[in-house]
Amino acid sequence: MEAVRSQKKPAVADDVVPTLPLYRTAPALEVRLEDFELYAIDRLRVLKGISDGLSRGKKPDEMEKLANELWKLHMRHPNASEVVNKDIISHFVLRLVYCRTEELRKWFLSMETSLFRYRFRFQTPEAQRALMAEFHLLYKTVSNAEYENVKDKLSQVARSIGQSLSSADAIFYKVPFEEVPDLVATRRVFIQKGQAFVAMNQVVSLVVTQFRTLLSKALALTNRKWTSMIREQEKDRLTPLIESLSSSYLGPDYSQPREFTEISLKDIDQVAKSSFPLCMRHLFEKLREDHHLKNGGRMQLGLFLKGVGLKLDDALAFWKAEFSRKVGAERFDKEYAYGIRHNYGKEGKRTDYTPYSCQKIISSVPGVGDHHGCPYRHFSEENLRAALGKMGVSNRALEDVLEKVRNKHYQLACTLTFEAVHGTSCDAGINHPNQYFIDSKKILESSNNANST
């Protein structure tokens, strides 16, 4: 953003229908440094709010409402002409903050894309059309004759997603299925010979896909620019700001064990009982029982254990002890050891993988044979009851936990479990399995100390 010092120019040209910015180029605007930070923090509030909403499992229409409210609340500006600038500047500042690791880019990309999706739906039809044109989404509409041919199928699809096909406004576009992956994934379109029949009101998905691609490329580019020049060029102005923003607002990622740095193999069973959150405890027990976990489970538990402080050698020994009982030591060395070293950054791209956050675990989709995921979200009520009983959650607390689960507040349910098991409150709430672990250890440690003195 070398243009910060340059002349003030309008961010949007006058002859265009006012619509959403696509953040194609960094703004050439004069902004006070303090505003930079404030704008960025405001936008971060919106993105975090969306992220929380998603991890609570809110439905699309609830999310739409939430995003709209968050936007109105945080992104307004006393000076109406500044609103668009605030939008653009805050986006670019956060882009710098979040361009620096794969994990951060992923999060930012998915939150910004969600935000864009919700905002797009609130645009006027003219503005929506203008955006489509910007993305060169010039699809053919389905002709009347063709429409009559596939009408039955289209109405079947409409009914399958709880809508009805009103023939009056039934405008459909024929789009290569590759361009609407999320509509394909959720079977919300009829597909014939590679062409998806996309209803006018689904166009949002087309636009969002384009936006996502654009932003994803831009983030990779920003990352390169950041390391190659911006960090150095801006070392007196922007860089400190970016760095403070990221340290104060991103929260720890738990990739490096910090407190209680070590956990040894001989204690691991005991520690699993006392301090693992249910998601990890379940995987741990399943592994002990079946001597096997599928890939999703190995990743979720493996990275958690890394974050908890299990050393690579111990991790290898630990997994090997179990797996070799099922598949034999040789197959373990051949097929599974690689993955474990990989988690520790010793193979492949050699990046250190970060332990999964609750949000990531909650939004995963375990399939047949899988044990990963968040039990509060992915267990049947009956199984969850049994599991919580085993953890020693009393009947009364159990009902509270299940109440939260029914309302899809999975992390709150986990927090209540934590409180029930440890007999203390946990005001911060549970956001990360490794945080659960650390908080638990702290409590146990301090009560041990209290006992011994």
Binding site: Q156, R159, Q192, G367
Partner: protein, 456 residues
């Protein structure tokens, strides 16, 4: 001739003679433990269709047309699993003879095929030094992996690695459902189905546009096929919500699943045989009054001439589809039960990512000795996994041909012949024809483009 010499020379007739010997041993030993390296040597020497695999993996880029990309084949990752459990990843080859020689020399127990990368995978380290992460997969067939061991909760005849003719039809159904959708819905044409050698099938979708799908697009297709919402720890495996089903599911149900369930699976797996089994099905009906009514009917186990599975299924359907239940949204239950028992169970992760490795066709399964032969989806009912040629059977056939050994290509006369011929004529030829057209079209488009820019 001394035994060591036989092995050193690796001369065919010697090994074939040797093979007779060890065959007898094998019969005495009862347990046939894996595949012998010497057999494999013969297999790779005489049976494995190196040239066809090379043609396939070249996708027309080995031709003479100026639009051919000669680096294409070289950028493909192969990986070998060797005898002593050594696992060689990122093998790549300059051409047919380099590939063929390497396979014959290393004699891998398993050959896996990975993606086509941006650069020659064997040289990836050299590129990695450059800083930018340029070593990345750029093309890969869209692949599917269906494994019978994922069906253990719906089959009573076998479990785990075993299959028999009672449960194998589950695979046939999977092929039909997925194959039809790949062709009719997604518009793909060049699809290869392969027996995995033991208990499942693999599918390779090879159209140009399939090879160029991004991971996100691959996931979308995988999810399009997904109806299983549960995992090991929640009840419901299939959830079909909404007032209607998507046309793809309707077609699969009407044309394949329903018929298969009612006419085959119900009786062959004895799904309603005893209390334990029918309770599993009743567990899928979320209405106490219905289930207890059915339990009442089924409690006394009177013998009748009719098949008990069919009788009970009819009773269940009758109750669920009678007027009263219709209103309560229980009708979908019948479909959910059928889907639970019959709908294809894909290993999603294999399909989602470009860089997943998948075993090459015509490998020999190291445990069963069976060759991973193609399956013709239009005749997949006829496929019998227990009749697939094994390595030792092939060698025996070859041996019987002793005198004429020098002439023809060996596979043609053996029971592998039909499989190779099917691969060539039904899969490879049409594929290469369309690859050629694609290469020519994109070349002339490029020419046109550069002409335009010159004019301008």
């Amino acid at each position: 001739m001394a035994r060591e010499e036989i092995e050193k020379n690796g001369r065919d007739e010697m090994i074939i003679d040797g093979c007779e010997e060890s065959k007898q041993q094998e019969q005495n030993n009862v347990i046939f433990d894996g595949v012998n390296v010497n057999y494999l040597k013969v297999y790779y020497g005489k049976f494995f269709p190196h040239a066809d695999i090379f043609k396939w993996m070249s996708y027309g880029n080995d031709g003479k047309h100026p639009g051919c990309d000669y680096s294409y084949f070289r950028r493909r990752e192969f990986s070998f699993t060797l005898d002593n459990d050594i696992y060689l990843r990122f093998q790549s080859f300059n051409g047919l003879s380099e590939m063929e020689n390497s396979i014959k020399e290393k004699c891998p127990f398993k050959i896996d095929i990975g993606p086509v990368y941006s650069v020659d995978p064997a040289k990836r380290h050299a590129y990695a030094q450059g800083g930018d992460n340029v070593f990345t997969p750029v093309e890969r067939e869209l692949v599917f992996d269906i494994d019978m061991s994922d069906y253990d909760d719906v089959r009573y005849c076998c479990s785990g690695a075993d299959v028999c003719l009672d449960c194998w039809p589950l695979m046939t159904v999977a092929i039909k459902v997925i194959d039809t959708a790949l062709r009719d819905d997604f518009g793909f044409n060049h699809i290869l189905w392969v027996y995995s050698g033991r208990r499942g099938v693999h599918c390779w979708v090879c159209d140009g546009k399939a090879r160029r799908l991004s991971n996100e697009q691959r996931s979308a297709i995988a999810d399009y096929f997904r109806v299983y919402k549960g995992n090991e720890n929640s009840h419901k495996k299939v959830s079909l919500t909404g007032p209607a089903l998507h046309p793809f599911l309707v077609r699969s149900y009407n044309e394949v699943l329903k018929i298969f369930f009612e006419e085959k699976l119900l009786s062959s797996q004895n799904l309603f045989l005893d209390e334990e089994r029918y309770e599993k099905i009743l567990g899928m009906i979320p209405d106490e009054s219905v289930t207890s009514e059915l339990r009442g009917k089924w409690g006394d186990n009177r013998r009748s001439k009719e098949d008990i599975n069919i009788v009970r299924w009819q009773q269940l359907k009758h109750i669920l589809q009678s007027g009263k239940q219709k209103l309560q949204g229980l009708r979908r239950c019948v479909e959910e039960i059928v889907f639970s028992f019959t709908y294809p169970r894909l290993d999603m992760e294999v399909s989602r990512h470009m860089n997943h490795l998948l075993k090459a066709p015509f490998c020999v399964h190291p445990k069963t000795g069976r060759v991973c032969v193609p399956i013709d989806p239009s005749h997949c009912e006829e496929f019998d996994p227990t009749a697939v040629p094994t390595l030792s059977k092939l060698l025996e056939e070859l041996n019987m041909e002793g005198s004429r050994r020098e002439s023809d290509i060996d596979w043609e006369r053996t029971s592998l012949g039909d499989s190779v011929r099917y691969f060539q004529s039904s899969f490879l030829q049409p594929l290469l024809k369309s690859c050629k057209e694609e290469i020519e079209a994109s070349y002339s488009a490029k020419l046109q483009e550069s002409k335009n820019s010159l004019n301008w």
